[in-house]
Amino acid sequence: MRSLFYVLTALAVIGLAFWAYRENYRTQAALTKAGQLQHEIARNRQRLRVLNAEWAYLNRPERLMELAELNFDKLGLLPLQPYQFGRIDQVAYPPEDDLLPILNPIDVSGMEAEQP
């Protein structure tokens, strides 16, 4: 009985040691991965900032104004004027007789149809 207990204890120690060894290496690997990911996030953020800066630079009002003037022939863009505000009741209703006329109506109710 006692020797069995010793054997089991020894086995448990060996098992736990193996488990701890494996967990240790897995933790190391996870930490390295996390470090890499953070590095990548930082790099991507940096890139995003550069792209945002470039977007802001390309969209600076001065440049847009120059582009609007350069392409005036094609686009005809002018500064927004007060009279360009519309009101909803200035918009006409779409004409209702857009549907094709019904040429061959079908009676769905026999009650009102004249008897031949």
Partner: protein, 594 residues
């Protein structure tokens, strides 16, 4: 263990036979036994002490060793902890009210040299001069061939320049990463941004610090790594700012002015939507401050918050509003305007003779100095001071720019009755256009004080009440009439019911001794739409001359007002303000309970 008997029979019998006392044997044995017990106990106690000592030693050794390790290792980021949203600790961006970038960071490189590692310094100098023609050849040669161990060559490099330097192939030329502040919109809102430069510099990094404008005011907030990922949101609107600056620039050129400033402010929140001061500069390449001459000639000078001017007739409405508030007059009260008004050796004149008397409304509409001075006499110096103090004319504006502190209003050293009269029409008290904008916003806000701010405000301000709502509304009605039938008739913008007051003040000579004859500060302070004021616009032109007519015109009605009207025409649609038909004058019906 076999216990030794205390009275071993053999020895007792032997002792009895010899006639000795057998008890002595027993005592001897007891003594020996006690000695043995004592030795055992001592052994055990010593053993325990040893174990305890070893344990203490181990514990202290562990703590000491750990401390030593901690003290001697390089610090490192905790890798296993959850990283927050910010990983990249950088100076925070500055954005406008809609999140468009006004200032951001850009990664670039600096160039430094380590002469001891250089192989061919002469060639390096030649090549560097080819890439950077602005360097000083002699100095560079001296530095690179001399005894110096380290020197900065260039603080910021473009990628092309970096490649070119790389192609020299000199091992003594090295690059350090640098973070650079970038203002993608160039000159836009230059005075608000201010600019940034490097603080402490190392090879691997350099501090970016703000040197002026909001960059300096919010330097700590922008540098705080805890806020690095959330941008600082200003109240400015990029497109409104751009339109304002463009129109103002055109107006300044057209009116031959040497400087101009415009402030557009939202009435309810006190948010500044656009603030322009011309001439301006590029914050990416901030010029050095002028060391001589008039500081106001430098492009760095922010006329809107630093320029302390006598703002002229724009002040008249404050005197009239106060008199209304105190119940001294009504809009229809007749005021004596017979001129000139003599006070001691001083005479107060009007621009034109407006007859012997007119209503208070007409005093504002025609901008009569005499009439306003008479009203100010009714109010008295003390009450006038009190009122202007409440409107914020006694201390620098609280706007969030470091330059704002420089805009300390100039008050008369002794507030005599003559001062009261001249201040009522805007002479004798100098303030910045920002002060004026805040005071007009207070009028437009129904009499509640408005504090101007450059930060996005979450809600409307509920400042302390300076005057009653009726007074404020009556003042707005008067100001509306100034535009519809008075001195600011060029300020009429169809659909936006502009209300405002012109002000033309002679410029005081720098060295004292009176005023210039032909140099003025023309100001137009306005609010629109008059029946429900939402925005306040102040335009000030420095030394404008309008030369299209036969005689050069300098009054604000001919110079500042058309510029302001054009700004409103351009900006109001951008603000989403629809043109409206102005509601007519209501008949005098008042709500009463029956």
């Amino acid at each position: 263990m076999i216990r030794t008997p205390l009275r071993p029979l053999a020895r007792i019998l032997d002792a009895r036979a010899k006639g000795e006392n057998p008890d002595a044997i027993e005592r001897e044995n007891i003594r020996i036994r006690h000695e043995q017990m004592r030795d055992r106990a001592r052994m055990r106690a010593e053993g325990r002490l040893l174990v305890l000592g070893v344990m203490f030693f181990c514990a202290f050794a562990l703590i000491g060793g750990r401390m030593g390790v901690l003290a001697s290792t390089e610090p490192s980021e905790p890798r296993s902890s959850v990283a927050g949203a910010q990983i990249l600790a950088q100076r925070a961006d500055i954005v406008d009210r809609k999140g468009r970038i006004l200032a951001t960071n850009f990664e670039t490189h600096s160039l430094y040299a380590q002469p001891p590692q250089m192989i061919d310094p002469e060639r390096a100098v030649n090549e560097l001069m080819r890439i950077f023609p602005d360097l000083d050849r002699e100095r560079l040669t001296r530095d690179l061939t001399g005894k110096r161990k380290f020197l900065w060559v260039k603080k910021k490099l473009s990628p092309e320049q970096k490649q070119a330097v790389h192609d020299i192939g000199e091992p003594g030329l090295l690059f350090g990463p640098r973070e650079m502040r970038l203002y993608p919109n160039g000159r836009l809102a230059a005075h608000v941004m201010g600019g940034a430069s490097f603080g402490r510099e190392g090879v691997h990094a350099a501090e970016v610090i703000g040197v002026a404008g909001v960059e300096k005011t919010f330097d700590e907030r922008l540098r705080d790594p805890a806020h690095g990922h959330e941008p600082l949101r200003l109240s400015l609107d990029l497109s409104v700012q751009a339109a304002t600056e463009r129109v103002l620039h055109g107006g300044m050129k057209l009116m031959n002015a040497k400087g101009a400033t415009a402030i557009l402010m939202e009435v309810k929140t006190g948010e500044i939507l656009a603030i322009a001061s011309l001439p301006d500069f590029d914050p990416n390449d901030r010029p050095r401050p002028a060391v001589e001459g008039n500081p106001s000639d430098s492009p760095l000078f922010n006329r809107a918050v630093q320029g302390v001017y006598e703002l002229g007739s724009t002040f008249k409405i404050f005197a009239v509003a106060q008199a209304l508030e105190l119940g001294l007059i009504k809009p229809s009260t007749m005021i004596d305007t017979k001129g000139p008004l003599r006070w001691g050796k001083h005479r107060i004149r009007d621009f034109r003779d407006y007859g012997s008397e007119m209503t208070a409304t007409k005093v504002i509409v025609k901008s009569s100095n005499i009439g306003t001075a008479r009203i100010a006499q009714m109010i008295g110096a003390e009450r006038q001071q009190d009122f202007l103090k409440k409107l914020g004319f006694f201390e620098p504006t609280p706007v969030e720019m470091v330059e704002g502190q420089g805009g300390q209003p100039l008050l008369p050293s002794r507030w005599s009755e003559l001062s009261t009269m001249t201040i009522s029409y805007g002479h004798g008290l100098s303030a910045t256009p920002m002060h004026l904008a805040a005071a007009y916003a207070t009028l437009a806000n129904g009499g509640r004080k408005v504090t101007p701010s450059l930060l996005r405000q979450p809600a409307a301000q509920l400042g302390p009440r300076v005057m009653s709502e009726q007074t404020a509304r009556a003042s707005m009605t008067m100001l509306r009439q100034v535009v519809s039938e008075g001195t600011a008739s060029f300020g009429e913008v169809e659909g936006y019911a502009v209300a405002g007051k012109t002000g033309t003040a002679d410029k005081p000579k720098e060295r004292g001794g009176g005023y210039y004859e032909d140099k003025v500060i023309a100001t137009f302070a306005s609010a629109f739409p008059a029946h429900d004021p939402q925005y306040v616009l102040v335009v000030t032109l420095d030394e404008p001359v309008e030369t299209s007519g036969e005689e050069p015109a300098r009054t604000a009605g001919w110079t500042a007002v058309p510029v302001a009207a054009e700004i409103i025409r351009r900006v109001a649609p951008l603000l989403g303000l629809r043109p409206q038909i102005e509601p007519g004058e209501l008949a005098g019906i008042t709500l009463t309970s029956n």
